[in-house]
């Protein structure tokens, strides 16, 4: 996307150059290509090629032997069919949807509420806002390990607190009914700061004059939010949700560290399933693993395209 807009703007600035200065233009073009080359090479090497390899992996029948020799036979969509027919597919799809939707809904709502709170700039608000960024700054392995200690059924603080309130212990990570919720809660906690930061800057971009006018017209706080803040924040909200979606779809570390996708698959999403197929077994099945990974890429791509479409429709 970035590349196409860049190329387009480049083409537009090139247009007015008159054709009579052709030799000059050619050397200019060479320079342009030279400038483009590093980016192009970088994109090819680190984006296009791995993506191509991943697609190729998913279309071939790789065994450990053919992986080493590089002579895996072409298998068409066999790996995809295998993945679709796998008993893990249905639950993993459902878990991925629930994990993503619930995470996004709570991250966005909490993030927006906090952003509205902090935009009022009270004393110490900058310090408090900085504190809210902590989950975002921590390495995922630290936050995930901390959550798994907190939620440990035997010695976790959460169960101790529940016990003090007279509630029975919950097997957060070891019960099939709870493990998906546990990893979702941890993921919401990690995602709130991102939503807060982006929505906060979006709120600051809304001109104060609009609110003043509305206040003069007698709009109450609720009306100001639903009639002004929410509609004017829509572009920022859309990009926040899209980035959140792409990020949440591929969340792997938190789930893997907290539950390994267990117990017996109760918190397995496409991301952990793909890893388990490719690397989590003594005999790796690279083909199906790559196929699951590609399904995730396609899902993210579809929502990306939807976003681009709606953006175009609004800004003709």
């Amino acid at each position: 996307m970035a590349l196409t807009t860049q190329a387009r703007s480049r083409g537009r600035t090139g247009e007015p150059t008159p054709p009579r200065r052709a030799p000059r233009l050619r050397s200019g073009q060479w320079a342009a290509w030279a400038f483009l080359a590093p980016v192009g090479l970088y994109l090819l090497l680190f984006y296009a090629y791995p993506l191509y390899r991943n697609v190729e992996l998913s279309l071939r029948d790789y065994t450990v032997r053919s992986f080493v020799r590089g002579d895996a036979p072409f298998a068409g969509f066999d790996n995809y069919l295998k993945v679709f027919a796998d008993p893990t597919f249905g639950p993993a799809l459902w878990h991925t949807v629930v994990f993503t939707v619930v995470s996004l809904a709570f991250q966005f709502t909490i993030g927006l509420a906090l952003a509205l709170f902090f935009v009022q700039n009270f004393p110490l608000s900058a310090t408090l806002r900085a504190l809210f960024l902590v989950p975002w700054l921590l390495p995922l392995i630290v936050s995930a390990s901390t959550w798994s200690w907190l939620l440990n059924s035997e010695s976790g603080v959460v169960n101790a607190a529940l016990g003090a309130l007279g509630l029975g212990p919950v097997n957060w990570l070891t019960s099939p009914d709870w493990s998906l919720w546990s990893v979702t809660i941890a993921n919401i906690w990690i995602g709130v700061p991102f939503n807060l930061v982006v929505l906060y800057s979006g709120l600051q971009a809304i001109p104060a004059g609009v609110y003043e006018a509305a206040a003069l017209d007698g709009a109450n706080a609720r009306q100001r939010f639903w009639r002004i803040t929410f509609p004017l924040l829509r572009p920022v909200s859309a990009i926040t949700l899209l980035l959140g979606l792409v990020y949440t779809l591929k969340v792997f570390d938190i789930i893997w560290i907290m539950t390994r996708g267990g117990p017996s698959g109760a918190s397995t999403t496409f991301a952990t399933w793909s890893y388990r197929l490719g690397f989590g077994n003594l005999v790796p099945s690279f083909g199906p693993g790559a196929a699951v990974g590609n399904l995730l890429i396609v899902a993210a791509l579809v929502f990306g395209l939807v976003y681009v479409r709606t953006l175009h429709r609004r800004v003709p």
Binding site: A34, A37, V68, S153, T174, P176, T259, P263
Partner: protein
């Protein structure tokens, strides 16, 4: 003027690219100048250049007249690293890998056989060598072995009035757990996590019941899952075992509240530091006697090289690590049980506490043995899944094992 600057820049860029292109040739030169350097990959990243282990490797290199370049990788990374290296034609000269991985790498054609590399394996106990054999060929030498046993906390058992010597079968163990729980202590902790680690810990009970990996849903196999499930139901084992790694399970035992912990030789040093009197007994089989536990520990193998003349030196390096008195040094360094009986006796003579472990290693079995080879991982995955399903209460043991058997059968076809 305007185009001159970009032009100069482009030229500079070109030079930079040329420079970048020239580096690979230097890399190609490097092995030539250091032709005597032999690469060794091991899964012991915890040992740095100053450790006993690395000094031993260097000494063996000096003996063979070559320089040794050693890299330590995380165990779980090493399999894929080795496969990728073989794909790119850059395998190390000597590779030390976890024993169930040997059959995978052998299947991939990454490893030489002992017929090719002339390693002597005649002194090695057959039950330990089994993990490195498939199709009648042997693909490496065990560098040392470890296995699982039951650690017990003497204080907790004394308080409950349990004599550990009487814990020789499942019924006695369950009775002991009941007494401990009644006396206010906690029973037993183990690791039933949804990875290979979980299968590793479950196998002594599975095999100790008389079950076979080719039939997960046999009455014996179901009995083993039921044993664990009942312990959880009755509170003899904590619910956290479902998510325990062997390390977190040990941390639970180290609190001093638990009577028993299923863990391996590698925790001996930590047991000394635990601050309470401890002992070790073999894991009991269902109807008495020690249960066969799976062998842990690594194999030393010589990966296939384009330049086959390197095998002779690699063989000397491996022999140095695994022969006679060096084996004693290696296994002591890595805190393993030696793979040969002669060295095992020396170990027990030096440290009587290792006696239990030597006995356990003698009855231990390779996971990929019984000619399962690369089928084992495809059986192990549904098995740990079934154990988790039964322990978490989502599926009864019988049904969980039936489903696992179905999945394993279709995966190994």
């Amino acid at each position: 003027m305007r185009s001159a600057a970009p032009g100069r820049l482009a030229a500079g860029l070109g030079l930079a690219l040329l420079a970048a292109c020239s580096t690979p040739s230097e890399v190609v030169d490097a092995p030539a100048t250091a032709a005597s350097a032999y690469t060794i990959w091991d899964p012991y990243p915890q040992y740095d250049a100053t450790s006993e282990w690395v000094r031993l490797l260097e000494a063996c290199g000096a003996q063979a007249g070559v320089k040794v370049e050693r890299t330590g990788y995380d165990t779980s990374d090493l399999t894929n690293k080795a496969l990728l290296a073989a794909q790119q034609g850059g395998s190390p000269d000597v590779l030390i890998v976890d024993n169930p991985v040997v059959s995978t790498l052998a299947e991939a054609g990454v490893l030489t056989t002992t017929a090719e590399n002339r390693l002597d394996v005649s002194a090695v106990s057959p039950n330990l060598l089994g993990a490195g054999q498939s199709g009648g060929e042997t693909f490496g030498v065990p560098i040392g072995a470890n296995t699982l046993a039951l650690y017990y906390n003497k204080d907790v058992l004394d308080k409950a009035g349990v004599d550990p010597a009487t814990v020789t079968d499942w019924a006695a163990l369950t009775a002991a757990l009941e007494k401990v729980t009644k006396s206010g202590g906690k029973g037993i902790t183990f690791s039933a996590i949804g990875t290979e680690e979980g299968s590793f810990q479950f196998l002594p009970w599975f095999w100790g019941s008389g079950a076979n990996l080719t039939k997960l849903d046999s009455p014996e196999g179901v009995a083993a899952v039921t044993l664990w499930t009942d312990w959880l139901k009755k509170g003899y084992a904590p619910n956290s075992v479902i998510n325990n790694t062997q390390t977190t399970s040990w941390q639970e035992f180290a609190t001093g509240e638990y009577a028993f912990a299923e863990n391996g030789t590698w925790q001996l040093a930590n047991a000394e530091k635990a601050g309470f009197p401890y002992g070790v007994i073999p894991i009991p089989a269902k109807s008495g006697g020690p249960a066969p536990a799976p062998t842990g520990g690594e194999f030393v193998a010589i990966p296939v090289q384009e330049d086959t003349s390197r095998y002779a030196t690699s063989q000397r390096l491996v022999a140095c690590l695994t022969n006679g008195e060096n084996s004693l040094k290696t296994t002591t360094t890595l805190s393993y049980i030696a793979p040969t009986e002669a060295v095992q006796q020396q170990q027990v003579a030096a440290d009587a506490k290792l006696g239990v472990w030597v006995e356990a290693v003698k009855v231990a079995k390779g996971r990929t043995g019984d000619d399962l080879g690369t089928k084992y991982p495809k059986i192990s995955e549904p098995m740990w899944g079934a154990v988790q399903a039964a322990l978490s209460g989502s599926t009864p043991p019988q049904e969980a094992m039936t489903q696992a058997q179905r999945a394993a059968a279709s995966a190994t076809q």
